[in-house]
């Protein structure tokens, strides 16, 4: 006698997990992580993220490097928010040594932060479109991002990993063309951004694919430590630029983009709004860069007084915390980067079940 349970279990295999791997070589994960996705039909039952494929032991390396040398490593943690990562370390060092950064440096840092945010959001937009199958979006996003990278290249010589922010200010002054180029770019991009909306945001296929998918409540976001645009889509106000302004953020008017729906489309809209906000922040700052020194006077060898320091900045993807334990030497005893993606990723298992496979 076979009971119904046994028939279901053994013969039909109903309780058997059908697991497919998304990554690390899968086209949608680009070699950085692996999702172990368990399916029932086309519906996701559960999803386990596996990370560490590009873990480079930066924290260990930092223990034998001086602070200016650490900065060039922070670029590589998240290369789309290289400036913000640099700035986070610089803020810690400046805090600890009590250095007053010149206004000019603060303004330029803030402009660079926002330009970096724009460049990253453009790349996010095009990669998001590509993952959904709209390949043309990918090229439009990259086309516009090129203008920002050109601005970066003209001033700092590199397009992606520019260790340009130094403790005390900047590495060298910006190119004389800097302001003009930014103004040109803003004029150009204000015309192109509505096209993004027409191509993807309004599209009925796109809206059906994203609305109601991956719902994350505010409590889930806080509990898992999700920050940045992902959390702001759940009406969780967590913008460090507003909460604890650094740089020149206290001198500009901007709104924190919040959405209440908490689904993928809300998170998408938060980022689209942030692009407009970034444009307006840059517009407010670019004409008012004060003529000043680009850096404060710094000692050739930077030694932090013994103690523990913690600073947070808002990177593109959320809150980056830098925790430094110094014993008075020129390199830290322990440095810990609380990266936003580490926390943002692990909420995946909470929000993905019961949605269809193309996430």
């Amino acid at each position: 006698m076979m009971s119904e349970e046994i028939i279901k279990d053994v013969i039909i295999g109903e309780n058997e997990d059908y697991i497919i791997n998304m990554g690390p070589q899968h086209p949608s994960t680009h070699g950085v992580l692996r999702f172990e996705v368990c399916l029932k039909g086309e519906t996701v039952k559960y999803l386990i993220p596996h990370i560490g494929y590009i873990h480079r032991g930066i924290e260990k390396m930092c223990e034998s490097l001086t602070y200016p040398q650490i900065i060039h490593l922070t670029d590589r943690m998240d290369y789309f928010s290289a400036h913000m990562n640099n700035e986070a370390v610089c803020l810690v060092v400046e805090d600890a040594m009590q250095i007053e950064v010149p206004e000019r440096a603060k303004y330029i840092r803030t402009i660079l932060d926002e330009l970096g945010r724009l460049a990253s959001h453009q790349l996010w937009w095009c990669a998001f479109g590509m993952d959904l199958g709209a390949l043309t979006a990918f090229f439009y996003g990259l086309r516009d991002r090129e203008h920002i990278l050109d601005i970066f290249e003209e001033s700092f010589g590199s397009r992606l990993l520019h260790s340009y922010v130094m403790p005390g200010g900047l590495m060298h002054d910006v190119h004389p063309n800097f302001q003009n180029r930014i103004k040109e770019f803003i004029k150009y991009f204000r015309k192109k951004l509505p096209e993004y909306d027409q191509l993807l945001t309004g599209n009925v296929i796109f809206q059906n694919r994203t609305k109601g998918i991956g719902y994350m409540s505010k409590e889930t976001a806080i509990g898992y430590g999700v920050t940045g645009p992902s959390a702001r889509g759940s009406n969780y106000s967590c913008d460090v630029r507003k909460l604890a302004p650094y740089g020149a953020y206290d001198k500009v008017q901007f709104n924190e983009s919040l959405m209440t729906e908490g689904d993928t489309f809300a998170r998408y809209q938060v980022r689209m709004k942030e692009m407009w906000e970034s444009l307006s922040i840059i517009e407010q700052l670019v004409d008012n860069i004060p003529a000043d020194d680009y850096t404060a006077k710094m000692k050739p060898i930077i030694k932090l007084p013994a103690g523990e320091y913690f600073r947070r900045v808002e990177t593109v993807r959320g809150e980056l915390g830098v925790y430094v334990v110094s014993d008075g030497n020129k390199s830290p005893l322990r440095i810990k980067f609380r990266t936003p993606n580490f926390s943002n990723l692990f909420v995946m298992n909470e929000i993905t079940p019961d949605i269809k496979l193309p996430i």
């Binding site: 900065i71 060039h72 003209e154 700092f156 010589g157 590495m171 309004g202």
Partner: protein, 159 residues
């Protein structure tokens, strides 16, 4: 009745949003002037990098084959990846004093991350960034370069 109305408004709204997207792509299809890609090897002659471009670390020499590097080793100390090695030599100068001169300034391009700390910290401004960007070679050893040219000497500042 309402649901039927909804059905048709949904349908036509959907079609209009699709048409909006098709207008954008159609516009670009018929405007070849918007093409932004560069024809890389063909435009080598006209391709000009920005002045600040970090292609590789070079040591500028003047027309007398002289450079400004004193061999102090600050760049070596500041390099986070150990991509600079300096070999100094002790040579007796005209006055009979023994003085430190640079023998070889070795630069491993393969390890360099272009952070710019060596150029920034150099006290005598002996290093700079070059404009060359085509670094591909078939032999990894070719990426290790000696920056000071053979026979070059230290530039003496006019006192």
């Amino acid at each position: 009745m309402n649901s039927i109305l909804e059905y048709f408004t949904d349908l036509f709204k959907g079609i209009s949003t699709l048409w909006a997207g098709m207008r954008i792509t159609g516009k670009y299809f018929f405007s070849p002037g918007e093409i932004v890609t560069q024809q890389y090897p063909e435009n080598r002659k006209t391709l000009k990098m920005f002045d600040e471009f970090k292609g590789e670390v070079i040591m500028p020499h003047d027309e007398n084959n002289q450079h400004a590097c004193t061999g102090c080793g600050i760049c070596e100390m500041n390099c986070p990846n150990g991509s600079i090695e300096i070999i100094t030599d002790r040579v007796a100068n005209a006055d009979g004093k023994v003085e430190r001169v640079i023998d070889k300034h070795i630069y491993h391009l393969s390890m360099c991350t272009f952070c710019g700390l060596c150029v920034k910290t150099c006290p005598s401004d002996a290093l700079a960034f070059g404009q060359k960007f085509e670094h591909a070679v078939f032999d990894r050893n070719k990426l290790t370069k000696v920056l000071n040219q053979p026979g070059s000497t230290l530039r003496k500042e006019a006192k």
